[in-house]
């Protein structure tokens, strides 16, 4: 085997495997963000008129270290979404003519086969979500506190229904993505780790979106009950 010098630095990231690595690395990074986000959101359930939550929101939007991390977070989203769109637009390239009869459910789970669908729903959610909170507060400078914004949004049954539905699809996305990320980074080197990660992924994918979904349901129920 003749030694080859790599053509250009970073070219490996354009291979199918390189793109998969980018997808996994950013995906796992976004997962850590989800946990932090959830921890903050759960403050909404405190019965203090939003004092704790507003303090947290204030901290997150003014702390310089968080500002820097926010740039990283934004980059993570951009790379993850870009690679995802690339996969969506090239998915039929390797199999232009599909099967007449395909029993995919016999060899793979539904979460892994619906990553694109769940991705698109979560992306739409992200846009609506950012418009409602990020744009409103950070760019337009609304006089409302973050707690008031949340209350208005969550007491709207349509917004809450959309929120909960998006969390269901996020659960689908995480159910495969969590395990898949570790597999792609080459960390699932035996059956025991695989089993452990798949259970961990199932638990994570169930609990984290549930944690998010409880909040709008809580607001809706407290308004109408």
């Amino acid at each position: 085997m003749a030694t080859t010098t790599s053509p250009t630095k970073g070219a490996w990231l354009h291979t199918t495997v390189g793109r998969k690595v980018l997808m996994a690395a950013t995906g796992l990074f976004l997962i850590t963000f989800l946990v932090v986000h959830l921890a903050g959101n759960l403050l909404l359930l405190r019965n203090d008129g939003g004092a704790a939550f507003n303090a947290y929101a204030e901290f997150m939007s003014t702390n310089p270290l968080i500002r820097v991390l926010e740039i990283g977070l934004f980059a993570g989203f951009v790379v993850h979404i870009y690679q995802g769109l690339y996969f969506i637009f090239t998915e039929r390239r390797a199999r232009p003519k599909g099967y007449t009869l395909n029993q995919a459910s016999a060899n793979s789970n539904i979460f892994s086969r619906t990553m694109r669908l769940s991705a698109v729903v979560v992306l739409v959610f992200l846009v609506v979500h950012l418009r409602h909170f990020f744009v409103e507060h950070r760019l337009l400078g609304t006089p409302l506190t973050m707690y008031e914004s949340c209350k208005i949004a969550f007491e709207n049954p349509y917004y809450s229904a959309f929120y909960v539905l998006s969390m269901v699809l996020l659960a689908f996305h995480l159910a495969h993505g969590f395990y898949s990320g570790f597999q792609t980074l080459g960390l699932v080197l035996n059956k025991r780790i695989e089993r452990l990660l798949k259970w961990g992924a199932a638990g994570f994918a169930f609990l984290v979106p549930l944690g998010f979904a409880i909040i709008p349901m809580y607001f809706l129920l407290s308004k109408y009950l």
Partner: protein, 255 residues
């Protein structure tokens, strides 16, 4: 047993192809799937019609020739099996069986159910070997290999190149095939000198052949007759990241 067969017929690569329906009677439950097709073909020949072309060779599950998509699964309704080792008793009497070729851009149909899988050979040619001058066989244990490594290498080396992984994958990715070869050599001392180039070149060739990207659905490992585990893919991922991110000590010393 009686079956209605819905078989993909395609004259050549240029033909668009279509399904034809055949009824077949008196099939023994102990006939293999290929033997059932033999019976069908004899019938077709007697009627002066063109027999169904399909790949087959050893008929004992070790050569990897007989690839076809049966009732929506690579190699039929059982897990980890070749088509030749699938028996008619695995089907219900009177069932309609849909038979298609493996479908992928990199597996062009040659005729009917026969596809050209030489794209897999090209991936192996890109690095699925070790460069040594062959001679008489070396003394046993002259190169020590730890037992667990030898076992794993053997597990990965079991690939028969049937292409079921590509056929079953929703993205038509050849990752399991490529990873089996990469992981096999990664386990052994003989594979170390070329380990970096191997993974890079084989991945590059895999992409060049037009195979899709892997999304870890695991369908490949379920259909693989050689039971190559998904850990092969984890090993490839690990080697690929390492080969591209860590500085190559040999490259540094030569410059």
């Amino acid at each position: 047993m009686h079956f209605t067969l819905r078989v993909w017929r395609q004259k050549n690569a240029q033909d668009t192809g279509h399904f034809e329906i055949y009824d077949i009677d008196g099939v023994s439950p102990d006939a293999s799937f290929l033997e059932m097709l033999d019976v069908l073909n004899e019938k077709l020949i007697k009627q002066g019609r063109e027999p169904v072309a399909f790949d087959h060779d050893c008929r004992e599950g070790i050569c990897g020739s007989c690839g076809m998509f049966i009732n929506g699964r690579a190699h039929g309704p059982l897990r980890n099996i070749t088509t030749c080792r699938l028996y008619m008793r695995h089907f219900r009497d009177g069932e309609t069986i849909t038979i298609e070729p493996f479908r992928a851009k990199s597996f062009p149909v040659i005729k009917d159910l026969v596809v050209d899988r030489s794209a897999l050979d090209k991936i192996v040619q890109a690095g699925g070997y070790i460069s040594v001058n062959t001679g008489s066989s070396p003394d046993a244990n002259s190169i020590p290999v730890p037992k667990p490594a030898a076992d794993l290498a053997f597990t990965y080396a079991a690939c028969i190149g049937c292409g079921a992984c590509v056929a079953a994958c929703k993205n038509a990715s050849a990752m399991l095939f490529t990873a089996a070869k990469v992981a096999h050599f990664a386990m052994l001392p003989q594979g170390q000198p070329e380990r970096r180039q191997r993974v890079k070149r084989m991945v590059a060739q895999m992409d060049k052949e037009g195979f899709g990207h892997c999304t870890n659905t695991g369908a490949c490992a379920v259909e693989c007759p050689a039971k190559i585990p998904l850990t092969a893919i984890a090993q490839l991922q690990r080697d690929f990241i390492w080969a591209n991110l860590s500085p190559d000590p040999h490259a540094a010393s030569s410059s």
